[in-house]
Amino acid sequence: MMQFMLLFSRQGKLRLQKWYVAHPDKLKKKITRELITTVLARKPKMCSFLEWKDVKVVYKRYASLYFCCAMEQEDNELLTLELIHRYVELLDKYFGSVCELDIIFNFEKAYFILDELVLGGELQETSKKNVLKAIAAQDLLQEDETVDEALRDVGLL
């Protein structure tokens, strides 16, 4: 099971955080800070795994962003890399060649996509198409609602 996932930039700025275990805010901040420092200190040639406290950290860098997952000891590290890659692919499809700025300005979208891919720390959907379909449908629901209300407000409906 994934314990948490962090996205952060090369400068160490946190871009996304998703926790599947309950920790007090203070501890979350401490973990985040320490982990970002440790991962950023590693050289590019090193492997993507890091045994850190009692979790196994799997991380991968995509352009300027680090995707970093804390897994339990039993989990397959290589599969976690695939999971990270799948998430990146989904972001890419959704935003259209995604960049860090997309995730900064639309962080809520990035969360929504993650929530359709992973639930409670485990993968819930292995089809890219299904994830994007669910997101699109929910976006549409929001749009409909917005337009509906706007029309009603100006008295067109």
């Binding site: 492997c47 720390g121 299904n130 706007a150």
Partner: protein
């Protein structure tokens, strides 16, 4: 009034450049028209009140040049958001929460938005719910009291007609379910697993997985609904179903048996995945749904473990996966890795195991660091199954010890220890010593103690054993575990005389070198061992006979130069007067020096020793000062007692360290440990002399007429009250001394202990003790190690912390019923570091021999919060006092 829109346009770029995936492009155009209409219609005052949009806030924050500037932007916005919350502004709530979530990610406090999130969730609008639930997942954790409120919201939404609303609720429940929430909502989730809608079904299955994780008792109710998940076609439902079943099987052996019958189903699903042609929906670089494959392989492993029949049923498919998987990409290796683990864990055919080990061999030579890491990891898990197969890769593994990557080094180190046997111990130790020397601090403690264990178990000769121990002591420096010092001393003490002389010469080289180089502070353990050894066997060191012992080391170099007595003492002086050495090390050195006064013969050396000892009479540390005063008395008034008191220690029985609880290598059952009590008695005889101790070893005791003098000395030495009941002589000896003395270090120093201080640390090493866990809560584990002793039981309290932060002001209190008497020694400290330990010695005297009941109270402060724990311990053995 215009109804606000949540983020009027969705993209960062202006609409004409919008290259985004937008399912509602037409709607966007409509929106634009509507917007313009609103701009025209809405009165100016309404527009003035419009809060900053999320995008604008992010821009503002990003434009801030300094941290202070950023803080001021954030503080201003937070103040504004708070005020809108206070005014119950439901119109802009959604936008404000979204901004708050961004601010939260930057690390600013956002707890004041918790209740607002709940209000959003309760709103009928989907947009509000979506952001509200996102906020709930980010801002709430299960410690929050608002959970009652959110449980109600979730319950409502789990019954919604819109699948996406149900989906949001399930997603939130899966992320933040507390045990109470799990109990309250389990039945809803169970109902949703049976839903015909795959979108809801898969989410509900994972929710059930989380609920069982939190509250294992709730598993039963999910069992009937779970089985049918495997008959679905939808991969989402399948993978979540497999995840849920895996959790259930790991949860209870009964359920594991219950699910044995699904092995054929799983095999069929896996076979379909491999054999079915290309399916674009689930393909990952030519592999069909690796996520599902891995999950199934893992479940098969759990089901096939220790079950010949189930293993038989999956042999073929595992072989098929192992041979048919494409290995040029990470995905293929992912599946192979999982397959190898399964093959090695179940009762598989031997040909299959050969195949698996070969796969690992290929992995080990792979250029990809990740694959190499995985190979090392897997070899470690399979080494117990087939050691010889893993041995073949020994050279590669040892090579990995030199890898610049810490993850790989750690794995290689663990694996190296697992591979050591009596044939390769010399080669392996040589490599590991090199590794130890270069390794980071975090490895040194673990590596050195594992090396000590391995050396003890496989040492080809006692000379090699000693040499290796000295090397480890030298290279691990201060990172060495405390007990290694005492273990090494025991080994030297019980070695034959010639070996002892050799040890003292070898250690002299190290002692002299570190005193001259000035790096003694970093190598205190070896200084301690050297001090003890030279103190005991110093006569052999300086005698001409030492020339007869070959000191040629492995590299063919003999560095030993026989020192003069005075030179030895000069070195001691240098070390003793150094300000950097720890008190414990100085205690070793001081006592050793005193002992040397009876080993060395020349007058100048005697005088030098006396001068040094005298200087300690005014030492700032009370313990050292006391020793200084006592020992200098032995050079004056009581000089006649000196030779007898400073006699050589009797050989100590070597207690196997194999009983250590943290040893991760498998160790043969240790030989029944002999107690060291007789030795201590002998020592006691030495001091107490005429006290009625029937040990027989009284030849060095002064004649009975000297009794008064002896008592005087005893007073001098320890302030001992001889009129105290002598039922537990060691305890009485120890008690009054321990209190004034700082026992903060757990260093066992037999020399000091035997003569002057509490024998507790030695008794701790005796085994087997009965261990009673008194408390295991919030990262604090308190164990009571009970040792019988007639009417008096000795209990060692060991408090161990797994918390992330230090516990300060740690206080352990205990109470016994009236018929008992309880004596508590001072604890080893009051600050419990993470992973640290505090020990405290208790003595319970019980003339009535009734079973012991103990009430304990522990108070400490963690993260500034005081904590009080109480418990009653009744689980002591009933025959404790017989």
């Amino acid at each position: 009034m215009a109804y606000p829109m949540y983020e009027v346009d969705w993209s960062v770029l202006p609409p004409d450049q919008n290259r985004r995936f937008n399912p509602a492009f037409n709607i966007a155009t409509i929106k634009q028209v509507v917007n313009e209409a609103i701009e025209r219609v809405a009165p100016v005052s309404v527009r003035m009140q419009t809060p900053t949009r999320l995008r604008d806030l992010i821009r503002q924050i990003r434009a801030a040049r300094t941290a202070a500037e950023e803080r001021s932007v954030v503080n201003k916005e937070c103040a504004y958001i708070r005020s809108t919350f206070r005014e119950e502004d439901s119109v802009w709530r959604c936008r404000n929460i979204a901004k708050l979530l961004y601010i939260h990610m930057l690390g600013y406090p956002a707890h004041f938005g918790q209740l607002e999130c709940l209000k959003l969730i309760a709103s009928p609008r989907f947009t509000d719910k979506r952001v509200g639930y996102l906020g709930a997942m980010l801002l709430l954790d299960e410690r929050q009291d608002v959970h009652l409120l959110i449980t109600n919201c979730l319950k409502n939404d789990l019954n919604s007609n819109t699948q996406f609303v149900v989906g949001l609720a399930l997603c939130t429940l899966g992320a933040i379910a507390s045990p109470e929430m799990a109990r309250d909502l389990a039945s809803e989730v169970e109902r949703l697993i049976k839903s015909p809608n795959a979108y809801i079904k898969k989410k509900a299955a994972l929710c059930a997985f989380r609920i069982i994780r939190r509250v294992p008792d709730l598993m039963e109710m999910f069992l009937p609904a779970t089985r049918s998940l495997l008959t679905e076609k939808n991969h989402g439902v399948l993978i979540t179903g497999v995840t849920l079943i895996t959790e259930m099987c790991e949860n209870s052996p009964d359920t594991l048996n219950h699910f044995k019958k699904i092995v054929p189903n799983l095999v069929r699903i896996l076979k379909n995945l491999i054999l079915a042609g290309y399916s674009p929906e689930h393909d990952v670089s030519g592999v069909s749904d690796p996520f599902l494959q891995v999950k199934i392989l893992r479940l098969l492993r759990i089901l096939g473990k220790n079950d010949a029949e189930a293993s038989e049923a999956m042999n073929d498919i595992l072989a098929q996966v192992a041979t048919n998987t494409e290995t040029s990409k990470n995905v293929g290796n992912t599946i192979l890795y999982e397959t190898v683990l399964s093959i090695m864990d179940i009762k598989s055919e031997s040909s299959l195991r050969v195949l698996a080990i070969n796969i690992l061999g290929r992995f080990l030579l792979n250029n990809d660091k990740n694959i190499r890491y995985v190979a090392l990891n897997t070899l470690l898990r399979t080494v117990h199954v087939d050691t010889s197969a893993v041995q073949r890769h020994r050279t590669t593994i040892l090579e990995c010890l030199k890898d610049p990557d810490v993850s790989i080094r750690r794995r290689a180190m663990e694996l190296s220890f697992a591979l050591i046997n009596s044939q390769n111990i010399r080669v392996m130790m040589k490599e590991l010593l090199l590794f130890l020397e270069r390794s980071d601090a975090e490895f040194k403690a673990h590596c050195s103690s594992a090396m000590v264990l391995a050396a003890e178990r496989y040492a080809p000769s006692s000379k090699w054993h000693l040499d290796t121990l000295f090397q480890v002591l030298l290279k691990a420096g201060n990172y060495l575990r405390d007990d290694t010092v005492s273990n090494t001393i025991q080994i030297i003490s019980s070695a034959p005389g010639e070996r002892q002389a050799y040890a003292s010469q070898r250690l002299w080289i190290s002692l002299e070198r570190s005193a001259v180089c000035g790096d003694s502070t970093e190598k205190q353990p070896i200084i301690q061992v050297a001090a003890w050894t030279i103190g005991e066997y110093g006569d052999m060191l300086v005698s001409e006979a030492s020339n007869a012992i070959s000191m040629v080391d492995d590299d063919g170099i003999d560095e030993f130069v026989r020192p003069s007595e005075e030179y030895v003492i000069d070195i001691y002086q240098k070390l003793l007067w150094s300000t950097q050495l720890s008190i414990t090390t100085k205690e070793f050195l001081l006592l050793s020096l005193a002992k040397l006064s009876t080993r060395f013969t020349t007058q100048p050396s005697q005088d030098k020793i006396r001068v040094i000892v005298d200087t300690f009479g005014s030492h700032i540390h009370i313990e050292l000062q006391q020793r200084g005063v006592e020992l200098s008395q032995l050079f004056r008034q009581y000089a006649n007692l000196r030779p007898a008191l400073l006699e050589r220690m009797p050989a100590m029985e070597v207690v196997s360290t194999g009983e250590r609880d943290d040893s991760d290598t498998e160790i043969e059952p240790a030989a029944p440990a002999h107690t060291t009590q007789p030795d201590q008695d002998a020592l006691l005889d030495l001091i107490i002399g005429s006290e009625p101790l029937s040990n027989g070893d009284v030849e060095h005791a002064p004649p009975a007429a000297n009794n008064n003098t002896t008592n005087d000395i005893l007073d001098l030495l320890s302030g001992l009250d001889l009129t105290a009941p002598a039922q537990a002589p060691m305890g009485v000896m120890g008690a009054p001394i321990t209190t004034p003395m700082s026992v903060a270090n757990n260093n066992v120093s037999p020399l000091l202990d035997g003569l002057f201080t509490s024998p507790a640390p030695i008794t701790q090493m005796q085994a087997p003790d009965t261990i009673v866990t008194a408390l295991d809560r919030n990262g604090l584990k308190v164990e009571l190690h009970v040792q019988r002793g007639g009417e008096t039981a000795t209990i060692t309290m060991k408090a161990h912390s797994t918390a992330d932060t230090a516990m300060s002001e740690f206080l352990f209190q205990a109470a016994v019923p009236r018929t008992f008497r309880l004596d508590m020694m001072s604890p080893s400290g009051s600050v419990l570091m993470p992973q640290g330990e505090i020990t405290q010695l208790l003595k319970v005297t019980n003339p009535s021999k009734t079973p012991l009941r103990l009430r304990i109270r522990i108070s400490y402060t963690i993260d500034g919060n005081p904590v009080l724990e109480q418990a009653e311990v009744n689980s002591f053995p009933t025959d404790l006092f017989n």
